[in-house]
Symmetry: D2
Subunit: 349 residues, 4 copies
């Protein structure tokens, strides 16, 4: 038996949409009929074959990309007991080993033997996909397939937002791609008193406003927007969440924080981070910088599900495009253009 | 009436030891007969007149430096009720206003209107000194004058050590001056499983061993000691406490931390902090960097007093020199040489 | 010069509305022209002269009750610098000493030498009142006198709500008086997924619904409402906030909590708390019980101000009655009846 | 093939020492040759057949009790990859399902589908035992079999001690059985400034002194020892750890806590907990009561291993008796008498 899938076959730009063999279901595997999948930045890296990103990560070609999805369980391995055929599920693309030191001290999301679904093993841009038992979660009946496909990326940023205490605080969020928009939406729902959104794309800033940003900063017009943030806050900003990965932006954020303020680095910087005057920016001001990679597993998944169910995150605005998987090329070209926000892919019916 | 004091009179190297007028005691002031005082790095900056340090800080000359001390209350202002003549006291050199936003959100130690005893007002290198009511604390009867004079510098580092959870963890402490030695001693008392000490001065490393360091790293021999730390720990270091202010050292520390590890920046860096590959060092590894300036006021003072009382910090090793104030020049030249550790000054009897 | 005030003159039911002497302004005092004041349960205790409550607390008669208010600064003592005549202010009725162990370990709100404005010293049910410098805070320009008079009671419950992590959790709030209504309103603003409100008064339950409760429980109909809570939640309730002080209610709450759930005791129980089967209710389930008395000083005041400014707490529903101080008797009889919610008093113009 | 085991065969006092069949090794099982096992209070309950304890817990007879042990891996199931034959291991007797809400919100140690090794499935009082993959941990080479057999009970109390911040605080520990002795030893290692130990058995109090208690309280002589604790501390006790389960003791503890103090309930109370004047004991004083059942999995296991390796817990004093399994009757009669502390059982060589 075969199925349709988007496949990375060569170390250059592009994918193929082709028939592949139905995967085998091991004892701890869950076979899922994909209902909705979403494009993430790393999928785009595979599409354009960003060498710096792909070389260390991809073990062998061909492989099926995609790691944000929802679907229906079709078959479960012999050792699987917590889900069964017919269940509606989503799953975490991080597959921790359970036994390394990180796993054992309560940090499975930074497992040092991590399996990465859709990165170093086949993913979900296909009619069917095989997930690992440990990451699969049933989703609430009332949660749509589309919403469930976004639990993964929402989960990346829900943790810093929840732990940072945004309520009635001043918050700046830089980088208004999907992660940034989720952050703005959560921060607004959690009653931040002021939400500054930073980007260089007017469309994304406009969307940020709809998500709840109270102040828009176009970084092309205000490259040194730190001055503005300092002026607009009493003793500096309480919290800065960087989803841009831009090192100049991170520096503007650092210098605008109040004594005791916190910088969350969620975006991945590609250049050296040069902090001028670290004595003033970090030590004397007692600033905290926190790197944030992944979802907690699974402390915050339930909260992400409940947020999506509550309607407090306006998915209608976040999901800007939808395509059948066969039209993957259109979808990825739009993703590449920076236009729109979250793009969904569907298997053909 | 007059008294003897060490005075900064000119914007160049040196102090004067001279008679000054007895200070007035305002309604919220406490007049203290100094029993023991200690030399801090900022006093040394005043001595050599490090322009970069002094210019912004010093309001006018002449002024009396010194801010770490203990003494006996001689007289209290009309509004002071919690101490009285005869009480044995120490005090915090930070004098928060109580009403700025930092003070009101529970961060008086980073008050934005901070008075700095011995910096922008007269200090304690004198027979008598005037402290502000809010910072004065009675000391336990069993605590010696010498120990009490060290409550201030001990307090700088007790907060990060207590909050970082060093028990049965791997910790590296860089910079084995007084602050670093206190950190090592506390970390050892609190049962860290392994304590790496980093310095370039063999004498200080030898002292670090006596304070409880389990592994000594001479950074001249091992400039890239991050490799060593990575090799010696399972998945990287749990905690790095920088008391050196050296940016290369901080970078070596950052790259040696485990996923979820923490870097405390206690030393003040004087150069830009250039972090190569911040994606790997901070974001992906979920590292936290925490700036640490001052003592909490006064959450950890009692703990500092108890630690000194307990005998778990070997002050006999930390206090390496003692001088009468009239011999201030010898004292400061030794401080300048980097020889020894903590140097005490005493008023003439 | 004299002023009108509500005065407790005898150890029996009732107050007097009379002329009293204008208070003296000490060096650390702030004289305030009262703009709005609110009735609290303890004022009602003074009114009816609840012996058990009053005897230990009241030092001498006559005294002026009232401790929730806002007003304009008229005069400040010689040592006061952070406010001046003309400033709009509110203040905390707790007056910590600053120097006892509780104050020094960061818990001034449970100072062991606490002065209690309007309890053991004159309060604010008067045209003018004298507050202590340390507790006085300027209020934002946009905050109304009425809203500012409610900062005090709102502050009692904002701390447990903020620290308990109600977002997307299941929460039960018992006792729908003013404190309970504030808790419901905050919990709803902070995106609890389900809010159960418990009371025996249908009017208060109706108000709870308007504040954001999703489920109303009339404890007369469902005295053993713990069963209901257990049925309606997956593995028990996440958080229970008791503002009733009723020990049966607290027990129902305890048995309905999930493993690791938290009970906040904000209401003051007047009877012994008998916990049947504490092994199951506390130990095995790892339940936490937290007593909560007062406002943090002043970590959460700013958040309370911002919440009131944000419009997320519907004060129009919470403030049910307004009277001039001369009609204090009507006001207290309504308070006694349990009808309505928050009752405000105003000085005559 | 058969093996020797201690077996519970009837619902009355006593065990049998007999040959049983070698257990089958399922795909996720680990077969372990037992090297050392320790007697816990629940094993004693099985021995004397304490109905109240046993009825709900025991599924069927016969079964093999015992759940604290160390041993060598002999064989692993087909799905097991993190340990192999020859590895030295210990394991947690709690076997969480991984998928219930408790497991998914980061609380596997209170899994609602918990398997209990040696309780509702066969345990380790035998030559060989089968453990579940998820709970098995390799132990450090330098850790003795005896020490490793105590990781389980040490783990019960290491969590509250580590999280409660005992350093330079006043702590009272009630109930000086093995759990209490571990608590005293840890608390002492972590530099509590004062450690009060409460028991009614002079031998156990003497042992408490050797473990580091600074003050011994014989509760037969001082039944109302709360008065004593209040007198001996400045504003009350910082932390009370109850390992007695005695409700009178818990009440004495509650009333002796300072404002903001914490009571850990580790012992399982068998009677109703009647708290007189809860307003004063809990609400006004902002006391926290925390139930504590089990080990975190596995955040604190590494810390427990390191503590045992460090020599800071004097096991020579805690292990008071050793018997071959065939002499189980002597061992359990001593356990029943309350004499001694921790009793070890060994398979015959």
């Amino acid at each position: 038996m075969s199925l349709k899938a988007i496949v990375k076959t060569t170390r250059e730009k592009g994918f193929d949409y082709m028939d592949v063999e139905m995967p085998k279901v091991g004892p701890r595997d869950v076979l899922i009929k994909v209902k909705a999948a979403a494009i993430c930045g790393s999928d785009l890296n595979f599409y354009v074959w960003n060498k710096a990103f792909c070389e260390g990560l991809v073990k062998e070609l061909p492989f099926i990309p995609g790691h944000e999805c929802s679907g229906e369980v079709v078959e479960v391995g012999s050792a699987v007991t917590h889900v069964k055929a017919g269940d509606r599920v989503s799953f975490d693309s991080h597959i921790p080993c359970g036994y390394c030191r990180q796993c054992q001290i309560g940090r499975p999301h930074t497992c040092t033997n991590m399996g990465l679904f859709g990165h170093n093993m086949n993913g979900c841009f296909a009619e069917y996909t095989v997930a690992k038992e440990t990451g699969v979660r049933k989703i609430p009946d009332a949660l749509s397939w589309e919403a469930a496909a976004l639990l993964e990326p929402l989960g990346v940023v829900i943790r810093p937002v929840l732990e940072s205490g945004v309520s009635m605080s001043t918050v700046c969020i830089a980088g208004c791609g999907p992660i940034g928009q989720f952050a703005i939406s959560l921060t607004s729902a959690l009653t931040a008193s002021r939400i500054f959104a930073v980007d260089i794309n007017p469309q994304r800033l406009a969307l940020a406003k709809e998500m709840g940003a109270t102040d828009l900063i176009d970084a092309r017009e205000k490259p040194n927007f730190g001055d503005y943030l300092i002026n607009e806050t009493e003793d500096g900003l309480d919290i800065f969440i960087d989803a841009s990965g831009n090192v100049h932006t991170i520096n503007e954020g650092l210098r605008s924080l109040r004594f005791g303020g916190t910088m969350y680095m969620v975006g991945n910087p590609k250049e050296p981070l040069v902090i001028e005057n670290p004595m003033r920016k970090i030590t004397l001001r007692e600033v905290t910088i926190k790197g944030n990679w992944g979802r907690s597993m699974f402390e915050t998944w339930e909260k992400a599900e409940n947020f999506l169910l509550s309607g407090k995150i306006n998915l209608d605005k976040i999901i800007t495009h939808r395509f059948p998987m066969s039209e993957y090329e259109k979808a990825f070209e739009i993703a590449k253009s920076g236009e729109g926000c979250k793009i969904l892919l569907y298997p053909e019916e």
